[in-house]
Symmetry: C2
């Protein structure tokens, strides 16, 4: 598939790009500047060639990356996610859009879930998208380091939600191409706040149980 990663650096973006390239998907790295996007893309290409993979990765400004793609991953910090989507504008029509965005704050030693006024980052992003876009909430709780080690099996669950069943099916398929991730569908998009809230909970656990990077499994 043609997959765009808007803001394709940092956190889980690297692991997704490497793993999806490995199984043959075509990746469009989006960034605010064309130059930065091309730089990131060539870094990924180099890494993959070293691993013996001949990737199809291009860097371009966010709007162009979104336009090219069937699936768009919003790999952007919470404070910029909605505004980036607004800037991408008409280039998102009826694509599948995936939000792993979580907004949290730190109070003393604790990390706390800090959703926007819409109730969840997913709802905030939905508001910025055209109604024809198919939004799926996913990938909030993947440990970035383990994800980027592309030969490592990931024995985690990815809980997703969204209002478009077909879009969730596509995300499930893309996810389960990364061994051994299992997708669990928790229902409509309004469930996203509860999925997002697991991220600061896991961050608190990671702080207390260093050097563990927890993910989650429903058993």
């Amino acid at each position: 598939m043609k997959i765009a990663l808007l803001g394709g650096t940092g956190d889980i973006a690297e692991g997704l790009v490497l793993r999806w390239s490995k199984v043959g998907h075509e990746i469009f790295i989006g960034s605010r500047s064309d130059e930065k996007a091309k730089g990131i893309a060539s870094d990924y290409i180099e890494k993959l060639k070293e691993l013996g993979v001949e990737p199809k990765i291009q860097g371009m400004p966010n709007p162009d990356a979104a336009k090219e793609a069937e699936v768009i991953i919003i790999s952007i910090p919470p404070e910029y996610a909605a505004s980036t989507i607004s800037q991408v504008g008409d280039n998102i029509t009826d694509q599948i859009v995936v939000t792993p965005v979580v907004s949290m704050k730190r109070e003393g030693k604790a990390f706390l879930y800090n959703p926007p006024s819409q109730g969840s980052s997913a709802f905030e992003i939905k508001e910025a998208l055209p109604p024809t876009a198919k939004l799926v909430s996913a990938y909030h709780n993947l440990p970035a380091k383990e994800l980027s080690e592309i030969d490592r099996d990931l024995d985690y669950d990815v809980v997703i939600c969204g209002d478009d069943e077909d879009a969730k099916e596509v995300v499930k398929k893309l996810t389960e191409e990364m061994p051994n991730l299992r997708v669990l569908d928790a229902g409509p998009l309004e469930v996203s706040s509860m999925i997002e809230a697991m991220t600061p909970l896991i961050v608190n656990l990671n702080v207390r149980y260093k050097p563990q990077h927890f993910s989650v499994k429903f058993v």
Copy 2:
């Protein structure tokens, strides 16, 4: 230890009473009526005798049960939890109090976290308790059926939080007496909303993946 279960029926109370009785703890079942509490207690005693366990279980009104105990489990629906504690009044002084209380609502097909105005059920209960009580938030996500099968190993994580380190240590010890539960301490009490929010998420998964009763493991 001397453990009170206020509102000692239903949901996770049965499993906790049976499993803690099995390892020798003394249980005080509290209820609004003395008669009801004694009835529940004799049911548990009968069940345990059939399993070859000679339990120490007594039924009594909630205030008496709280007074007798070192650890008090609030096994009460969210809408009655804080008011029950207020009724128990002076009989809670410096005991350890455990809240598994979660407030949720149903909207269409989805179950949603529905915290009280204090931000979490734990904060609501804290407000009703004297400041000397040591509140620990725990046991939100134990599957009741599996818990009540006392010879069954429970390969789940129990995420707890609270502001009193010693109280959390006691709860950890009591919990890990139930094989193979593992306690993970997520930090101060303000983290409770994120632990509580996992319950409606799991309920949504249970509805969609019947007959699975999910609990959670951090891996």
